[in-house]
Symmetry: none
Subunit: 159 residues, 2 copies
DNA sequence: AACTTGTTGACTTATTTTGACCATGTCTTA
DNA sequence: TAAGACATGGTCAAAATAAGTCAACAAGTT
């Protein structure tokens, strides 16, 4: 039993694979009708599944002939992608956010499952030592986690 | 005298052997109901028996259509090899020895070049923080490096 | 007895679904 | 061409649903 949000999200993904361009255009109202839901559900799908963090950009227009355009981000080179990753992690990141980011990166094929496992073990190790050995406050642990994650992801992006 | 935790853990293991994939999805609520326990017992089972250090990755979602997905990345028959690795690393290891070990493991195909890179980044990061941030003595840094390396290698031990 | 592992439940946080109300376009017509 | 009708999309919050955390207590081990 899959959620409506997942079904709609998957449908949008198929639109991308059917399209030669890395960009699709759709009507919120039509999509909502197709899936028998309220229009604002589409906004929720976009917000939760097609965010910049997940590699998408969205443009839209209201009124007659309104539309929603979803663009898949492309990165020219490693440096650009590394920069993108650094922006995602920022200065501090919680355990939960970090884990979620790794899930997304694995799903996008940026890292393998083994690499994700490795990263999780490294992050958990640091977390535990920060907490138990040095009694660091939560925010400090979040910044240290961000530092480690950025170093790892950037080095992988460049490899 | 078998604890509920063990029973549930064993049950989850059978789910893996019944499944062709190395990944299963379950509902916390259902599982708790099946074994007549509180839902949070399931979290305990996962924490104590299916951690990244034990070769498992967990992804979960709260709210409507929530789920828990468990990925198994290693299989039971590598305990011996894991022990071997622990013996290699011992209680303390220098930066140089660690790097040499990683080179050997990569040459033997135990880890990929990217995985080796990842490990080296994690080790360097820990080294730097131990030195700069906490002013740890060399021996302490060597033991911490050994701990991290062992955790990582054991969790990856497979092939 | 001290320590580790397991069990429980109250409280917290996150996700999905829905709908009422808001904002901004285009089109028609006086 | 200005006003109003019509057509879209956006925002926000409530309700329903489900998972996570934490700490106290219990049971088992050493």
């Amino acid at each position: 039993m899959s959620s409506l949000t997942k079904v709609i999200g998957d449908y949008i993904v198929t639109l991308f694979s059917d399209s030669p361009k890395s960009e699709i255009v759709l009507r919120r109202k039509d999509l909502a009708e197709k899936f028998g839901c309220v229009p604002s559900q589409i906004n929720y799908v976009l917000r939760s599944r097609f965010s910049p963090e997940q590699g998408f950009l969205i443009q839209s227009q209201r009124g007659g002939h309104g539309f929603i355009r979803i663009m898949q981000l492309r990165f020219g080179d490693c440096d650009e992608y590394a920069e993108h990753l650094e922006e995602l992690v920022r200065d501090a990141i919680s355990e939960q956010e970090a884990r979620r980011l790794m899930v997304i990166l694995q799903e996008r094929g940026v890292v393998s499952p083994r690499e994700r496992l490795l990263v999780e073990v490294a992050l958990r190790n640091q977390e535990e030592q920060g907490r138990v050995l040095f009694d660091l406050p939560p925010y400090k642990r979040d910044t240290m986690r961000a530092d480690l994650l950025k170093k790892i992801l950037v080095s992988l992006a460049m490899s």
